[in-house]
């Protein structure tokens, strides 16, 4: 609405006309002031000039308000004034120009018709003037006669041109407008959205096809109606007015306004709509043009989308729950996979806290109708109450007593599991009983601080979790109980301490698998055999846990029984095989190596039932695996051939027995493990304790073995001319002492009888030491062979008692009878018995009658 039409607005036309009148008035005034013809009537001319000036001024000042007809009137008045001026001046020559201007103005400023009317009026007025006045000279008359038609012709041709141009233009405009309108209408009609035009008062001025479809009102019906009453629901009408008025009142260009509204159809039904309204200024007229879109579908889609989102959220929630449940299930599996109850509880509270996005979670365990805090997500509190919480007391106690889930908002400090939680600002907490087979085994309490706030939904979710937690706890408890039994049983099956074997040094290690696994079936034993040897056992029962442990127990008892009966190793192992073979559980199987070391004979005998080979480390020689004598494990065949192998061993040799856990690593050939063991042993200390430590340090770094490891080493101490050994003051030490003495006396090259007699004499002295010495203090036996003379001293820490008649009197008599000299030396801190005997040079006749 700007640009060219602005040039022709009424205000500008009025101003231009005002200049014309002012100029004409100025010209008239000028003709009066200059010397002029006597015929001129000054007064009348001054009046005409005054009128022209007045009209000019009025036009100028009222240019803002003038209407088109005012201008036409002014032009007609101008023509009249020019005519009067012509008449009163008596000359017509100057005023033709004024007429021409007036005509031109008429054509430019007014419509063609108005212009023609003015032209006619000018022609008539001029003709009248010409008829009244005789031209002063022929020349001027000629000029007027030629000039007037010329000017008139020019004017007329100009008028015709303009008429033609205007017609063409208006026709084109009409066509263009029609086309444009049609196009616009077509576009608007084709638009899916209603296009409605309102005037400033809210009266409908435009209504497209879509509007008809959407509202149910035809354009004829709608146009002229008020938007307010036609389609606006009653409760929204005031708002409609406010918005409309705000748009109308807005200054200048305004961005289209968007509204979400509810509108009414013809049938009274309502629908949600979105409207985009623009303020339009059409030739000074304010219109509001708006697109209105029925968003019912979109709302529905939106609702559907929201429903979909809700569904997705619900599914995600369900998946979360499922994940949590599977997490709990995993935990249950984990519980079965040999984890301690404590670990599981700590894991559980952490998980529950994470799953529920809670701030704290604790688990109480129940025992004897009372609860004890067992795990807390933030670690066990310092201010944990010493006394268990009885059922029915406190929040958790009530949950346990009522066996019902409870939700508490804004719990008091007393209701919190422990006071430190109060600092977190806990404002809601849930408690759930953990039920296993109908029994309350514990209580799970979950706490939340702002902004988290528990609701009944959380209780339901947690109820699901609680079932799993209860299951996990129950499993863990059962497992732990079983584990403890098995562990205790197994520990009891390993020798509490190894027998003191004079002349032999023994060390053993047992390393349970690192990952808190069930106790394995590894075991070992050391037992003196009746003939003065020592039996070394290393075994591995297949399987784990209670079953394996009990099998170990039976094997151990049986082996001891058979061995002590003096059976040869292969017979012992055969008996063990029979024991396992006759087991009802057919899957029972065990590997075992049984080695008998006879240090007196300098012999090693062994039977290997499917066990890794023992390692022999000779004094001064390299390590050597004892590969022979190997057969199938126990329990595989009913009558396997367990062949016994023997080999001589030097004094100072070390035997190393172990289970596969020491040498086997997943995915590795066992030969590599054996080679590693040989490397570690080579050049190591011969002291069994140090050797064990070194082997474990090197082969089980960090003490964390994937499988159980048992290790047993025995070293035969080389016999020398002198020996000295401490023994416990226990009757059981006597056999060991005799074994040592026999070896030593053989080393001293004594005869069989001499050995028996010296051993008997020493036994008497040792028996005395055991019977009289204080319990716990060991006694010491030392020997020295010098040539054929054997000297033995037995020193105890008790008081010697004078030989009495009777049983104990026989002891000293025996010693005296069996040895050359016997000397009893009492002292404040013990008694020493010194004995000496000279061995015969030749065997056979050494007995003393």
């Amino acid at each position: 609405m700007k640009g060219l039409p602005e040039l022709f607005n009424l205000r500008l036309k009025a101003r231009s006309l005002a200049y014309l009148f002012t100029a004409g008035a100025g010209l008239g005034a000028l003709s009066l002031l200059l010397p002029h013809d006597e015929a001129v009537r000054d007064l009348q001319i001054w009046i005409v000039v005054g009128c022209a000036l007045a009209i000019g001024l009025v036009l100028y000042w009222t240019a803002e308000r003038v209407r088109e007809w005012h201008l036409q009137l002014a032009l007609a008045a101008g023509t009249t004034l020019i005519t009067f001026a012509n008449y009163y001046t008596g000359t017509v020559n100057l005023y033709a120009l004024l007429y021409t201007w007036a005509g031109l103005y008429a054509f430019y400023f007014l419509g063609t018709r108005a212009g023609l009317a003015h032209l006619v009026y000018i022609g008539v007025a001029y003709a009248i003037v010409l008829a009244q006045r005789e031209p002063p000279s022929p020349a001027i008359r000629w000029l007027l006669g030629v000039g007037t038609p010329l000017i008139a012709g020019l004017l007329i041709s100009r008028v015709l041109d303009r008429l033609r141009a205007e017609r063409t233009e208006s026709e084109e405009r009409a066509v263009e407008l029609r086309e444009s309108e049609a196009r616009t209408r077509f576009v608007l009609d084709a638009a899916p959205d209603a296009f409605v035009t309102l005037d400033a008062e809210g009266v409908i001025r435009g209504w497209n096809r879509a509007a008809e479809r959407i509202f149910g009102w035809t354009a004829e019906e709608a146009i002229g109606q008020s938007m307010r009453t036609l389609v606006t629901p009653e409760e929204f009408r005031d708002r409609h007015d406010e918005r409309r008025q705000a748009l109308v009142d807005s200054e200048g260009y305004v961005e289209p306004a968007h509204f979400e509204v509810e509108l009414q159809r013809r049938d009274g039904s309502r629908f949600p709509a979105e409207s985009t309204v623009s303020k339009v200024d059409v030739r000074g007229e304010i219109l509001l043009a708006g697109f209105i879109r029925d968003v019912t579908d979109r709302r529905r889609q939106q609702d559907e989308r929201e429903a979909l989102l809700r569904e997705q959220a619900a599914r995600a929630e369900a998946e979360r729950v499922a994940e949590m449940v599977s997490g709990m299930q995993l935990l249950v599996d984990a519980a079965l996979a040999h984890r301690t109850l404590d670990d599981i509880l700590v894991d559980l509270v952490a998980r529950v806290r994470a799953v529920l996005d809670a701030d704290a979670a604790v688990i109480y365990l129940a025992a004897d109708q009372a609860l004890t805090l067992a795990a807390a997500s933030d670690g066990m509190p310092d201010d944990q109450p010493d006394e268990p919480l009885p059922f029915g007391e406190g929040f958790a106690g009530r949950v346990a007593a009522e066996r019902q889930a409870a939700l508490v908002q804004d719990p008091s400090v007393d209701e919190l599991p422990y006071a430190a939680l109060g600092e977190l600002g806990i404002d809601s907490q849930i408690g759930l009983p953990l039920l296993a087979e109908g029994e309350v085994t514990g209580v799970l309490v979950v706490c939340a601080a702002e902004p988290r706030h528990f609701t009944a939904d959380d209780v339901n979710l947690l109820r699901l979790a609680a079932d799993r937690v209860a299951l996990a706890v129950d499993h863990a408890r059962v497992y732990e109980r079983e584990h403890k039994i098995a562990e205790t049983l197994q520990r009891s099956l390993l020798p509490e301490r190894l027998p003191q074997l004079p002349g032999l040094s023994v060390a053993a290690r047992y390393l349970p698998a690192a990952a808190e696994a069930e106790v394995g079936g590894d075991w070992y034993d050391v037992l003196p055999t009746p003939n003065g040897g020592v039996g070394l056992v290393m075994g591995d029962v297949a399987g784990k846990g209670l079953t394996a442990a009990s099998m170990v127990g039976r094997l151990r008892s049986a082996l001891r029984a058979y061995a002590l009966e003096g059976h040869a190793p292969e017979r012992v192992v055969e008996q063990l095989n029979r024991l396992i073979w006759t087991e009802e559980d057919e899957s029972q199987m065990a590997t075992l190596i049984y080695v008998v070391v006879d240090p007196a004979a300098g012999e090693l005998r062994w039977v290997n039932a499917g066990h890794p080979p023992p390692l022999l480390l000779s004094d001064g020689g390299g390590p050597q695996f004892l590969e022979g004598g190997s057969s199938v494990p126990l329990g595989v065949l009913p009558f396997p051939d367990f062949s016994e192998v023997s080999m001589p061993i030097d004094q100072g040799s070390t035997v190393v027995l172990y289970t596969d856990g020491l040498v086997e690593r997943p995915g590795e050939n066992i030969d590599l493990g054996l080679a590693r063991l040989a490397d570690v042993v080579r050049g190591a200390s011969t002291d069994p304790q140090q050797l064990c430590d070194r082997v474990l340090r090197e082969l089980v770094p960090g003490g964390a073995a994937p499988d159980d490891v048992a290790l047993l080493t025995l070293r035969t101490i080389p016999m020398a001319d002198r020996f000295s050994v401490e023994l416990p003051t226990e009757p059981e030490a006597l056999a060991a002492m005799r074994s040592l003495l026999r070896r030593w006396l053989m080393h001293a090259d004594g005869s069989e009888q001499e050995i028996a007699e010296v051993v008997t004499a020493c036994g008497e002295a040792a028996t005395n030491a055991i019977e009289h010495a204080g319990v716990g203090a060991p006694f010491e036996i030392s020997g020295h062979v010098d040539g054929r003379s054997v000297e033995i001293a037995i020193r105890d820490h008790g008081a010697w008692r004078a030989p009495r008649e009777g049983d104990h009197g026989r002891g000293i008599s025996l010693m005296r009878a069996l040895m050359d000299t016997v000397e009893v030396v009492p002292s404040p801190d013990g008694t020493t018995v010194r004995m000496q005997r000279t061995l015969l040079d030749t065997n056979g006749n050494g007995d003393r009658q």
């Binding site: 009757p731 056999a735 005799r738 051993v759 049983d807 104990h808 026989r810 008599s813 069996l818």
Partner: protein
């Protein structure tokens, strides 16, 4: 810890035979003595303690034998001991002059043969 001594009881008629094998010392003697004493009913005529398979005996074992001899004597039951010569056990029995308390035989058969037909033999 371990039982180096083993005991086997056999009854032949009214004679009880106690075979003691292994090594008899302070660790095993008291219990072995008790076991043997319990195995002899009052109706038994005699007890033969067979040391043929015994590798070692000390004063505790001797004390056990003397105790058995006292007990059986008070019940008018015979005690006979089998200990072959040349073995360490016979040597010890010899030294303590056990044959003053009860007869010592070379073999079980000899001991059984000499059990009195009825009642106290010695």
């Amino acid at each position: 810890m371990m039982d180096l001594v083993q005991l086997a009881i056999e009854e032949r008629g009214d004679v009880v035979i106690a075979r003691v094998t292994g090594e008899l010392d302070l660790a095993g003697a008291p219990s072995t003595g008790d076991a043997i004493a319990e195995a002899v009913p009052t109706s038994a005529r005699a007890l033969v303690v067979d040391f043929s398979g015994l590798e070692f005996i000390d004063s505790s074992g001797i004390a056990m034998l003397f105790n058995l001899a006292r007990r059986l004597g008070s019940r008018r039951q015979e005690l006979r001991v089998v200990a072959p010569d040349g073995k360490p056990v016979a040597r010890v029995l010899d030294i303590v002059e056990f044959n003053r308390a009860a007869p010592v035989h070379q073999t079980l058969e000899e001991a059984l043969a000499q059990v009195s037909p009825d009642g106290a033999g010695s």
